[in-house]
Amino acid sequence: MSFIKQYIEQEKLNRRNFLFASAAGLGGLAAGGMFGPGMARAAIADPTIAWSYRNRTNPYWNEIVSGGEAFVEGLGMSKDALVHLINEGSSEKSLADVKSLLARTNGELALAIDTNDAPNCRPIVEAVAAAGGYVSTIWNKTDDLHPWDFGDNYVSHMTWSDEKPAEETARILLNAMGGKGGVVHLGGIASNNPAIERLQGLKNALKDYPDVELLAAEPADWDTQKANQVMSGFLTRFGDEITGVHCANDTIAYGVIEALRAEGIEDMPIVSYDGNPQAVQLIAERKILATVFTNPHWGGGISASLAYHAATGAFKPSDEPNEHREFYGPTIMVTPEDAVEFKAKYLDNVPTYDWTDYWGPSNGQIQYK
């Protein structure tokens, strides 16, 4: 049984070193990481590629996954080679699944992940780094956590600055309302970062439209049915005062449109976010005035690509500048004028991306306020 004992000793040492490294803080971290098992491995020839995300019921995540699968196929593998970790909205499951996968693959893992809730990002990144895997994150990350504190293993973080695009869609909405009247906002899960930013975008735009009143803003949890019920309540509370609706994403907009349809209201100005195919269709029909396409297909593919290529040693993340480690994803505004063209370009025929052009479509380094 001596090998088990030896193994435990080894792990103990590794873990202690790693913890020592985390405690050493910013400067010491990269150096401390040198003792970790990950650093002992120069490159992983054939890492398992995995995507961890919230669920399969939201079109947004399906788009993300399609990008991940496209990347895997681009490597000449079957798309089944991509491992899916679905957390069902549970940070706990998200973390447990990642750890299981790390164990199974012996750390030979290239992981792309949305960690479901911002605080969950740190333990996941720490776990991947400790096991010598490579991870790229999107969306949820606390502000105190940075890829460059983890040497090479935390490859990148991509998010989307929603405040500006949301402000732009808000302007389209407010203009369509004729610069007066009342607007309601239906938000995402209240504590989610994008939900906060998108509402803030609306508020920014409203400063230039003194005659428009923000009647109410309520969370609809990214959920069509919830949005439907909240909108029904708004209709009673404000009735004709509502002359425009600002939705935090497309799935919320669907619920809003149906709540309005039930009342026979067909011409309410609505804007949304995400750029799902169905929403783009609705924009072409002018049922929604604008949405913001964040190109989840590319985001899904490139996050997997970054992790994969860092793992195989194709590039060394720690040699890259910070704007290549934390960056904003692309945003494309979709309006009725360009909806058909957009659809043809991005949705009907998904463009073939060069998955080694890591930062081409990105949008600059993440700024913290």
Partner: protein, 321 residues
């Protein structure tokens, strides 16, 4: 305390009184609450939940519990949408067959649920919880995570067509309440639910085939869930894995708020109607009076407790679990 104000009478009518007080309360704060338009909105949002709650009412009367509704609703909705589109996508064609098919799907899932519970002798809480996972998982497997749009104008007419200010789906829901009431009061099966809930061992000794009643109960509940799924799809125009979300806790809460006891034997369809309306009136009312989002969960919780306290006959029970 006698005459019309006896304790029994008070307890019997307490849920309805709670509902009226709530309506009055919200109307005073916001008169528009009591408009026909808003009542129609409440009815529309309550209709699918009501169907699900009716289904689980029968189970609760038997003293069991069913937590499989979220899965059953999702599967029924998804299969309905697939079949509807496959059969032509409009009610005027063959696609109407998708409606009975969905109900059949609900019945089959309910039947399996009942068989797992009765034949494997697993308490219904656990059996149905697990079946719920299976249902949601099956819906996910069928759709692969996609949403299926049902755009047919005739089917969506359930939402868009109105009689006397109320969409047709509200009348459909009322019709099914009457069906539920009929089952409860005029059929052997309905009365047997009460017998099982009142004393399972005694019912068995009287020659009642309790296993059969239980299994049929779960099957019937599955059919009501499927009707709820149809109304949910009619309301949103989308069938997806998430169609069933949030039905579980809300439907059981509604049933309890309406005065049906979780230990079985007491309550019924009308209680559930009132209970569902109470929960939906609170939900709608909180938005209508402009209560901030972050306190809504607390207010809903507290009001539910008050409603249950008022409609429970505390003298007649020694303890609750």
């Amino acid at each position: 305390m006698n005459g019309i104000l006896s304790r029994e009478t008070l307890v019997k009518w307490a849920p309805l009184m709670v509902l009226l007080i709530l309506v009055l309360f919200f109307t005073v704060l916001e008169p528009r609450f009591l408009s026909v338009r808003n009542l129609a909105r409440i009815s529309v949002s309550a209709a699918p939940a009501l169907m699900v709650a009716l289904g689980v009412t029968f189970i609760i009367i038997m003293g069991s519990i069913d937590l499989s509704m979220e899965g059953t609703v999702s599967v029924s909705a998804v299969i309905f949408a697939f079949a509807f589109l496959y059969l032509g996508g409009t009610l005027f064609g063959l696609a109407w067959l998708a409606l009975p098919l969905a109900v059949l799907v609900g019945a089959v899932i309910g039947l399996i649920n009942g068989i797992v519970h009765v034949k494997l002798r697993i308490p219904s809480f656990m059996a149905s919880l697990a079946m719920g996972f299976v249902g949601t998982g099956l819906a996910l497997l069928l759709t692969g995570g996609d949403r299926i749009r049902v755009e047919d104008e005739a089917f969506r007419g359930l939402l868009t067509e109105r009689w006397l200010g109320f969409p047709i789906m509200v009348y459909v829901a009322i019709a099914f309440v009457l069906v539920g009431w009929f089952i409860q009061s005029r059929t052997t099966l309905g009365r047997n639910f009460y017998a099982v809930g009142g004393g399972e061992e005694l019912a068995h000794a009287s020659g009642l085939n309790v296993s059969k009643v239980r299994i049929l109960g779960f099957m019937l509940a599955g059919m009501f869930y499927a009707v709820g799924a149809l109304l949910a799809v009619a309301r949103i125009g989308i069938a997806e894995t998430a169609t069933g979300n949030n039905f579980m806790f809300m439907s059981i809460t509604s049933v309890v708020v309406g005065g049906t006891a979780l230990w079985g034997g007491i309550g019924g369809v009308w209680n559930t109607l009132v209970g569902v309306l109470i929960v939906n009136v609170i939900g709608n009312g909180m938005v209508v009076i402009g209560l901030p989002g972050y306190v809504q969960d607390a207010v809903l919780g507290l009001l539910v407790i008050v409603a249950v306290v008022l409609s429970t006959d505390r003298k007649s029970i020694s303890f609750v679990k």
